[in-house]
Structure formats: structure tokens, C-alpha cells
């Protein structure tokens, strides 16, 4: 649930940045617009002052230079000059008739501040009097009445900054208010999407701004559930089928094994018949192991095998499996050497005892199955000094396996779990079960070549599993 605060931070950050950026952008745009305008038109007050300076008293009266005259007429500006006696002593030819030719001081004050008969008027002073320029009507807007409080102008930068911040805060508040509804609708949707892969139950109320999306999420959850149910049903059916077949085969196989074993014990039997009986016993034991393995492998694969975890001493479990083999190996073809350091303290892990026994059993049985001529099997439990992780190692001095076979066992899919037609499918369920059991315990299975030339398998349990009970 880290995404909602992250989303809010991102949105608010963008908003604040744009709130600050927009006024700056406006000032820049306005400034550039004004500067463009000013470059095109000479400011009227400047023109008036220049015209006042340009007007010279000659023998023929007041005269304006030709260039100034041209400049005024180019912009359709009329002008007159009031001397210090308040009389109009000079005027341009285009002065409209409606413009009075005598002025009182209040009249001058008025025209300076505003308009003469609707013409915006601008004044420029000289030592002889006052030049008055009249621009065409509606060419300038003049308002010179207001007087500004000095403190107000002095504080203007601060006031502006305050206004700016106030605006930003106001925009922020408006934004949060407006978006809280949206965020409220988004939150359950985000929660639901995050819950979907975990398999938790998902339901989003289908209301608010995003009700359509909520409905789609609910629908997706329903589809996923239904697919999961269908898959589970198929897997259960397959596992039940395997369990059923392996159950039904047990009683007939008991008969085969029982009678064959009796024949094997019968000393009156001719040698050939005796050898056949031995072979039937051996092969039926293989069938028995296969149906046991097939059933367990399918249950582990489809998560139908309950894992009963308890605090177990790995050394005791391994010792029992080794002793069980030693007690049943009547031929002495497969001696087992117990290499565990006797000073090693009990190694506790959280494990399902019967499954761990099965894994060790399969490894020892694997050495026996692949070495019909006999071999010595070495079993050892060790504890890693740094991580305290427990490992069980089963090795033999038999025929062993090639690098290619190690690669195949480690990487090629087993036919039990393979969903495509590949020539690289593996057979033999013993090691598959070992791997499945170790995976269920969070441990690792390493297959390789023993230093004694034979097969080597190491089962390592995660160190923290000893903490669990």
C-alpha cells in the first residue's frame, strides 16, 4: 500500500510546481508583449517633451522642425503650445476646431491629467511654456486621477509575494477538495489490484467516479476464482485417479509379493524356479515403490499432501532411516557408513518427519537401485558453522552419474510435471519427490558426483527453519 501516498505526492508536487511556474510565465509573457508594443510606438510623453524642445522661437514666431512635423502628422497627432501667459501661441494645421485656444491653470491641469474633447492629451514643458499633443481619439487610455499611498507602494513587493503564496495555497486547497473524491475512489481499486495476485478475496464497491473500473476488477476476480476452481478440480481429479489406481493395485500386488516371497524361501524348489521367484519379488518391490512414489509425487505436485510441521531433530530422523535399511539388508551388499560427527549437537528444524524420512529413504534407495552389483553408502549430517543450516549428505562409491546426467536431473522436466512434448523428459520418481519435499520445506537439493566416484546428493535446510516450532 505504498502507491497511494506516492501518487498523492506526485500529483501535489506537479500542482505546486505549476502553481509557481504559471505566474512567472505570465509575467514573462506580459513583459515581452509590452516591450514589443513599446518598440513599435514612441511613448507619447517622450514625443511631447521632444516636440517642446524642438519648438523654437524665430523671427517669424514659433517654428517646429520639419522632421518633428512629419513625425506628428505620421501618427495623426495635432499640437499646440501655450506660453507662460496661458495663451496658445503656436498650433499645427490639423488642430480640430473644437479645441479651445485659451486656457486657465485649471484647464491645463485637466488636460494634463486626461483628455481635451475626447482626444488623449500629453504635455511636454519648455522654458517658454507648455507643448500639448493631441492623439487621435481612442488611441490611448489615460487615467491620472489616483494618488497612491506611499506605504502601499513601498510594501508592494511583499504584498505581491504574499498574494502569490496565498493563491498557491488557495489553488492547493481547491485541488485537494476536488480530488479527494477521486482519491477515495482510487484507494479501494488500488487495494484490490494489489490483492489480486496474493489470492486474497477481492471486492470493490461499485460506486463513485470509477465505478466502471471497480466492476471490471470484481469481474476479473470472479473469472480468476472460477479458473482457479476449475484447475483445482482437474488437479484433484487427477490426484484422486492416481490415488485410486495405486490403492486398487495394492491388494493384488500383496498376493504376488507374498507368494513369490514364499517360493523364494522354499528350499525344495529347483534353482531356476527359485531364481524366478527372487526376480518376481524384486520386480514387485519396484512396482510397490513406484505406486507409493507416484501417489506422493502427485499429491506434492498438486499441493494435496498435508505438511505437518513440528520441531524435529534431523540427526535422529536420518539415523532411524539408516538403521531401517541396515536392519533389512540381509545380503550385506549395501553396507551403510554413518559419518556424522558424534559430538554434533541435535540439529532441530521445523519439518514433516514422515516426508523427510521419505526423502532420505529415496536417496539411499536410489544408490541401491543404480548399483545392482552392490556399493557402500555414506550418510552424514552436518551443520554449517556460519549459518547453522543443517545438511544431510548421501553418497556412494558405485557407478555414479555423468555431468550430462547431472544436468538432466537438475534441469530437464520430469514427465510428472512436463506439459509439452519434449525428448528431454525425465523418468524415475525418487529424486523428483526428494526435490518436491525439499521445496516444501524451503530447502535445497544438490545432485552431483561423489569424491568416491559414485552418486552424491546433499539436502540443505534453511537455517531459520530451526527457529520455527
Amino acid at each position: 500500500m505504498k502507491s497511494i501516498p506516492k501518487l498523492i505526492r506526485h500529483l501535489v508536487g506537479t500542482l505546486l510546481l505549476s502553481a509557481l511556474f504559471l505566474p512567472v510565465l505570465n509575467v514573462l509573457v506580459l513583459g515581452s508583449l509590452l516591450s514589443t508594443q513599446e518598440s513599435n510606438i514612441i511613448p507619447p510623453w517622450t514625443t511631447a517633451r521632444e516636440a517642446a524642445d524642438d519648438l523654437q522661437l524665430t523671427e517669424n514666431g514659433y517654428m517646429i522642425s520639419e522632421s518633428m512635423g512629419a513625425r506628428l502628422s505620421a501618427y495623426d497627432i495635432w499640437a499646440f503650445f501655450i506660453d507662460n501667459d496661458l495663451q496658445v501661441v503656436w498650433q499645427t494645421d490639423n488642430l480640430p476646431d473644437s479645441i479651445p485656444l485659451t486656457y486657465t491653470p485649471s484647464g491645463i491641469a485637466n488636460l494634463t491629467r486626461g483628455y481635451i474633447d475626447g482626444y488623449p492629451a500629453f504635455t511636454g514643458e519648455s522654458e517658454n511654456g507648455l507643448m500639448v499633443l493631441g492623439y487621435p481619439k481612442e488611441s490611448f487610455w489615460k487615467e491620472m486621477h489616483p494618488g497612491w499611498d506611499y506605504q502601499l507602494i513601498k510594501n508592494a513587493p511583499k504584498t505581491l509575494l504574499f498574494m502569490l503564496l496565498f493563491n498557491v495555497a488557495a489553488i492547493f486547497l481547491i485541488y485537494i477538495t476536488a480530488n479527494s473524491t477521486l482519491l477515495k475512489s482510487i484507494k479501494p481499486i488500488v487495494n484490490a489490484i494489489q490483492a489480486l495476485p496474493t489470492g486474497e478475496e477481492v471486492y470493490v464497491p461499485e460506486k463513485g467516479l470509477l465505478s466502471e473500473i471497480s466492476a471490471n476488477i470484481n469481474r476479473t476476480y470472479e473469472i480468476l476464482q472460477s479458473q482457479k476452481y476449475q484447475l483445482r478440480k482437474k488437479e484433484t481429479a487427477r490426484a484422486n485417479w492416481i490415488a485410486g489406481v495405486s490403492h486398487d493395485i495394492r491388494t493384488p500386488l500383496s498376493m504376488v509379493m507374498g507368494y513369490a516371497a514364499q517360493l523364494q524361501e522354499d528350499v525344495t524348489l529347483p534353482k531356476m524356479a527359485h531364481d524366478n521367484a527372487v526376480s518376481i519379488v524384486r520386480q514387485s518391490e519396484k512396482i510397490r515403490d513406484l505406486i507409493n512414489d507416484l501417489n506422493l509425487a502427485s499429491k506434492l505436485e498438486y499441493n494435496m499432501q498435508p505438511i505437518r510441521l513440528a520441531k524435529e531433530n534431523i540427526i535422529a530422523i536420518t539415523r532411524q532411516v539408516v538403521v531401517d535399511f541396515m536392519n533389512t539388508d540381509m545380503t550385506g551388499k549395501y553396507p551403510i557408513v554413518w559419518e556424522t560427527d558424534e559430538s554434533l549437537p541435535p540439529c532441530f528444524i521445523s519439518a514433516d518427519k514422515s516426508l523427510i524420512r521419505r526423502a532420505i529413504n529415496n536417496l539411499i534407495q536410489n544408490s541401491i537401485n543404480h548399483n545392482t552389483q552392490g556399493c557402500t553408502i555414506y550418510v552424514k549430517v552436518t551443520t554449517d558453522q556460519d549459518t547453522a543450516a543443517c545438511s544431510i549428505t548421501v553418497a556412494d562409491d558405485g557407478i555414479g552419474i555423468s555431468e550430462e546426467q547431472v544436468d538432466k536431473i537438475s534441469h530437464a522436466p520430469h514427465y510428472m510435471v512436463c506439459d509439452e512434448n519434449t525428448g528431454r523428459q525425465r523418468h524415475g520418481l525418487g529424486l523428483l519427490i526428494v526435490k518436491q519435499i525439499m521445496t516444501a520445506h524451503g530447502g535445497k537439493t544438490i545432485i552431483g558426483k561423489s569424491s568416491r566416484g559414485g552418486f552424491l546428493a546433499t539436502l540443505t535446510f534453511p537455517p531459520d527453519s530451526s527457529e520455527a516450532t
Binding site: 490403492h247 486398487d248 491388494t251 500383496s254 498376493m255 507374498g258 514387485s284 531433530n313
Partner: protein, 240 residues
């Protein structure tokens, strides 16, 4: 192993497969067990026990007119004899249910005759050990009913722990019993840290049963794994 006294025990076999009943009967008979009766259903089994009170029952779990588990509960009312399940139902849940109801053992089919015989004899030995006057070892005899060892005509008493340990070893005579299983037999569940005590007790038992405790012939150490009790009969058979 002086097991002759067990061969006369009455055994009831219940399974709906007549072929299997015949085979198990022949396996047991070939080993010398002679008092065997069979039944194909719960009803037949209950009727049979009116006249034949077994001293050990071997039951299938799935019977045509009920489950072996419920049959076991009914048989328990008739007498306190050991019950062993022999069934095709090998799920952990079934096995736990069987033991939970008080079954003495649970064997999943298919099985080897030797295994079945070993398990049956182990149960009989455990349950009827007091019927046996003496267990003969190479240099002494054990009288479990009196908790004593007789060596050279001298009666040496066994302590409770020594009795527990010898019983566990005798039940599995000829087989290795792990250090852990022996500790559990003597000290109960979670028997960790008793290895040194176990060694002390084993040494004392050897002093009682062996001629030369430092070179034992009846109670053998299997280094790092456990101990094995060898009876005189087993030793004689081995030498043959």
C-alpha cells in the same frame, strides 16, 4: 529367540479378499503359528469372536459392511488384545487415525511376508512378554516378569530404566535400535541430551548380562547409530 511360547497365540484375520486371507494364513502357518481363524466382514468377525477370543487381530480397514476402525472399537469391548491393521489405505491421515484409535501397528499393502511376520511377532513379544519365562542370551537369561537377569545361577535385579531399555531392545531383537528410540523408551518424548546417561545404563546392563562387558556378545554397539540385542537362538542360527 525363545518365541515358541508365542506360536500358540490365537490370531484373527479379517479381510474381504479370500485369496489374501488364504495367503496370510499360509505365511503365518509356515512360521509355526497355528491358531488362526479368518473372517470376511465385520459381521462374520463379531460372530466368530463369540466362540474364538483372539489374542491378536489383523484387520483390513475397508470391509464390505463397515470400517476396520469401527470393528476395532467393537472388538476392544470383547477383550484387551493387540490389533494390527493391514490395509491398502496408506494415507498419512488413515495411519494417524489407526494409531490414534489405539492400533498396535499399521501395515500398508503390499507387504513382504517377512515384514508381516516380524511385526506380528514384535507385537506378541511386547504384549505377552510376561508369559515368557526366560529370554536366553549367550551368557545369561532375562526374566522380564521379575525384572531380573540370571547369570551363572545368580539373580541380578534390573532397575526400571534397564528394564525399559532391555524391553525395547528385545522387541527388536536382532535389529539395530537407534540411540534416539532407546532414549525415548527410557525417558519418554523429546529425549534429547540423554546420550551420556544411555551409555552409562548400557554399560551397567552389560555388566549384568555379559561375561566380559568390555567385549560384549549379546548387546552390540553400532557406532553412532544405536545398539543391537542378539539372543542365543539368533546367534546359533547365524552360526549355522
Amino acid at each position: 529367540m525363545n518365541d515358541e511360547y508365542l506360536k500358540t497365540k490365537r490370531i484373527l484375520l479379517v479381510d474381504d479378499e479370500q485369496d489374501l486371507l488364504d495367503m496370510v494364513t499360509s505365511i503365518l502357518r509356515s512360521d509355526g503359528l497355528c491358531h488362526i481363524e479368518t473372517a470376511g466382514s465385520v459381521r462374520e468377525a463379531l460372530a466368530l469372536t463369540e466362540t474364538f477370543l483372539p489374542e491378536l487381530a489383523v484387520l483390513d480397514v475397508m470391509l464390505p459392511d463397515g470400517s476396520g476402525f469401527s470393528l476395532m472399537e467393537k472388538l476392544r469391548l470383547k477383550g484387551d488384545f493387540p490389533i494390527l491393521f493391514l490395509t491398502a489405505r496408506g494415507e498419512d491421515g488413515d495411519i494417524l487415525q489407526g494409531f490414534g484409535l489405539g492400533a498396535d501397528d499399521y501395515i500398508v499393502k503390499p507387504f513382504l511376508p517377512k515384514e508381516l511376520l516380524f511385526r506380528i511377532m514384535a507385537i506378541l513379544r511386547r504384549c505377552y512378554k510376561n508369559d515368557n519365562p526366560l529370554v536366553t542370551l549367550q551368557n545369561s537369561e532375562i526374566d522380564f516378569s521379575r525384572a531380573e537377569v540370571i547369570k551363572d545361577g545368580i539373580h541380578i535385579p534390573l532397575t526400571a530404566k534397564e528394564h525399559d531399555l532391555l524391553s525395547a531392545l528385545y522387541r527388536n531383537a536382532g535389529r539395530i535400535v537407534t540411540i534416539d528410540a532407546l532414549c525415548e523408551a527410557a525417558w519418554g518424548d523429546n529425549p534429547f541430551g540423554y546420550e551420556n546417561s544411555l551409555m552409562t545404563h548400557i554399560r551397567r546392563i552389560r555388566e549384568k548380562i555379559e561375561r566380559n562387558p568390555s567385549q560384549p556378545v549379546s548387546l552390540i554397539t553400532v557406532k553412532g547409530l544405536g545398539y543391537k540385542l542378539i539372543t542365543a537362538e539368533q546367534e546359533n542360527r547365524r552360526l549355522l
